[in-house]
Each structure stands twice: as C-alpha cells, then as structure tokens.
Symmetry: C2
Subunit: 214 residues, 2 copies
DNA sequence: GTCTATAGAACGATAGAC
DNA sequence: GTCTATCGTTCTATAGAC
C-alpha cells in the first residue's frame, strides 16, 4: 500500500467514524486526504470496496493476534480447558491495544471499526460474517469448555453479550471521559482492559449458571 | 400525533435502522410511508427534527418507567441501598419490553434507537445527553450506593460497561439468531432480560472489586 | 498516476396550485 | 393539508488530457 492509499484509508476512517457509510462522501474523503477525487476510484475501484479494504486492513491483524495467543496457550495447556479470564484477555487485549493508539488521539480506528460492525448494509454484514467466522468458532469452543459446557443456550447468550460489550466499548469509548468527569485517561489501555476483562469474565460466568424459571 | 405522522415515524425507524442518518433519505421515507415528499417538511420541519422527534417518542416512555420503578423501590426500602440485581433490572427490563414488540417483527424500535445512540452528529449527541442526564445521575447514585461506594473510577467504568452492553444488545439483537443457530427466539423477552441482567450484575460487581496493579 | 471536467442521478427543501 | 414542480446542491463514477 503506497502513501496515497494510506492517506485515503486514514481519511476514510475519520469520515466513516463521524458520518457513517451513508453520510461519508468520497469527495470529503479525498479533500481530507489531500488527493484528487478520482484517486479513490483509481486505487480502490468504488466507495464500497474502499470501505471493505479499510475494515480488513484494521481487523485482520487483530484476529491473527487473538488466534495465535489462544492456540499458543492451548498448546501449552496440553488440551486442558483454559481459565476463562485468560481466554477473555486474548479477545479483549489485542483489540484495544491495537485500536487505541496514542499517536491517533481521535480514536478513529476504534470508532470506524465499531461503526462498520453496526452497519446493516448487506455488503458489510457479509464482510464481517466472513472475517469473524474463524474467531467465533474457535473462541466459543474454548469458552464453552472453560465453563464446563453449560449448554447451547447459555453459551449463545454468553458469546452474544461478549461481542455486544466490546462493540459498545468501541463505539462509545470517548464517553468514558464524560462519564468519569475527565478523571479517566482515554489512553490508559491497561486500565480499560483490566476492568473490561473483569466485567466480561464475571458476566459470562453468571450467564452460564443463571437459573431461568422457564 | 395523527395517522400521517405515525406512518412517517414508523418509516423513519425502518429507514434509519437500515441506512443510518446519512444514508436515510426523506424521499425513501415518504415512499415507504405512502405519503407525499412534502409531508415531512410540513409535519416535522426538517429531516433533522424528524429524527429527533422519533428518538424522543420512543425513549421518553422508557426512561419514565425506569425512574418510576427505581423511585418506588427506593421509597419502599426507606433509604437502604437496593440490591444491585434489582437496580439493573429496572434499567434493562423497561428497555427491552418496550423495544421488543411482537407486532413488529423487524425489531426496528431497538435498532433505530441503537443507531441513534451510535450517531456522532452533534445534534444527536446533544439530544442524547439531554435525554440521559436525569437517568444517569439517579441510577449511578443508586448503583454506587448498592456497591458500597467503590470509588469514582470503578463506578465510572462500571456505568460505562452497563451502557455499552445495552447499546450492543440493541444494535445486534438479530445476531442472537445467527449465533444460536436459530435456537433462541428473538421475541423471548424474559429469556433475554434474565440473562442480560445476570451478565451485567455480575460484571458490575467484579468491576467494583477489581484489583488494578497501578 | 494524477489531474480536470462532466455526466447522470439523487439529495433536502420549498413555492405555489388546489 | 396535500399535491406537483422545481431550485440549487451534492453525490458516485468515469472519460480523456497530460
């Protein structure tokens, strides 16, 4: 990827995070990137493929990291189920350490990826289904085993809430500053990861043992 | 609100849920509602005020319910802190029972409200700040007391994760069907509420006692 | 590979007839 | 209150000069 393409991707992230897919225009993106209007169609083919490229470009390294960490730990444990907290850490930490980057103080990586996951346009839903397939199957198996196979329904609710929490955290990150009256540093990755891992781990354990009266 | 306005609001919810604010056009909305293009500007003034009206129209009854339930329980307890699970139930149950309506099988209420909360346009952020002010202050006080006042940072992280989880659940509701391979009924409000309340309550308790090494 | 110019369609909003 | 017609703008995409 050359310098022009990098500048376009960066401008796309900002524009997408702020305006959504429908509100982001290639004219604004090229203006922000300081390149010509025709550059997007030349380098990426269309608005749609530009946004798909941008999402892949950010998500795929994260998922590779997650799977590597999970498989390394599984190999080391010799087939024994891993502690739940460790698995959740493999999901959360690569995401937040990659997407919160101090050199980018607007958190545009996070916000853009969050927006893309909330996007209902078919081409985006297909993209995410494709990107998340492997990670969902591997992690839900590991989590289910760690919880002692609590059953299909509880595992499904649990996995759902895990992904919902992370989506919310990505989309709403800057609200932490508002909600904490400025006392929490948005760049404190370890603080956020530690608290979020604790939240999700305990939540998941509770879901797997919830007593439904039905 | 007359019949024409109702039809416009309903069409706006669908269009907004699927396309976002930037992608939704008043032409598509009026076409879907079966009314004339000029009807939106006549009845609502502009695209912006139409979307604001729609959000208020759905959220305000929910927040009134939540606050009534909280204050009734507080009066009954005579100033004693309420059990955490009960408070979380007051936040979650009115939201999901109001937004999941069997007569509306596309879950457009939920998805539209979720999208509106993820919207970064200033007029939407202001609207939500205004709508959520009272509820955040009352519930964060109740939650903090119920947890034994764990300190500012932990309360802030906790409240943040509560709202993030609910936002994700609103936006991603239909993924439950995919993630459960069709085994979970999307209209099973009690099942969803029971599991989500368990998840959030346990998560919040864990956050309030997390041991950060910093 | 980068530009200008423009085609062709869709946009929000409104004026004015009925 | 509801319509048609239309203004002025902006959109994605591309053709063709350099």
């Amino acid at each position: 990827m050359n310098e022009t393409q990098q500048k376009i991707i960066e401008a796309t992230e900002i524009e997408f995070a702020e305006m959504g897919y429908g509100g982001a225009s290639i004219r604004e993106i090229t203006k922000r990137a300081g390149v010509n209007v025709a550059a997007i169609n030349y380098h990426f083919g269309s608005k749609e493929t530009l946004f798909k490229e941008m999402v892949r470009y950010r998500i795929e390294p994260i998922n590779r990291l997650r799977i590597d960490m999970l498989e390394a730990a599984q190999e080391k444990s010799g087939g024994e189920p891993l502690p739940l907290r460790e698995i959740i850490n493999f999901i959360v930490r690569p995401l937040l350490t990659t997407l919160i980057n101090e050199s980018c103080d607007d958190f545009r990586f996070m916000r853009a990826i969050g927006k893309s996951m909330a996007e209902e346009r078919p081409f985006m839903k297909e993209l995410h289904r494709d990107i998340l397939k492997e990670i969902i199957s591997k992690f839900s198996k590991a989590i289910s085993e760690s919880l002692g196979n609590p059953g299909f329904e509880k595992t499904a609710y649990g996995m759902h809430f895990v992904s919902c929490s992370m989506l919310g955290v990505m989309m709403q990150h800057r609200r932490l500053q508002f909600i904490s009256a400025g006392q929490i540093d948005l760049n404190d990755i370890d603080g956020l990861v530690d608290h979020l891992v604790a939240f999700i781990t305990a939540g998941l354990q509770a879901v797997s043992t919830v007593n439904t009266n039905s």
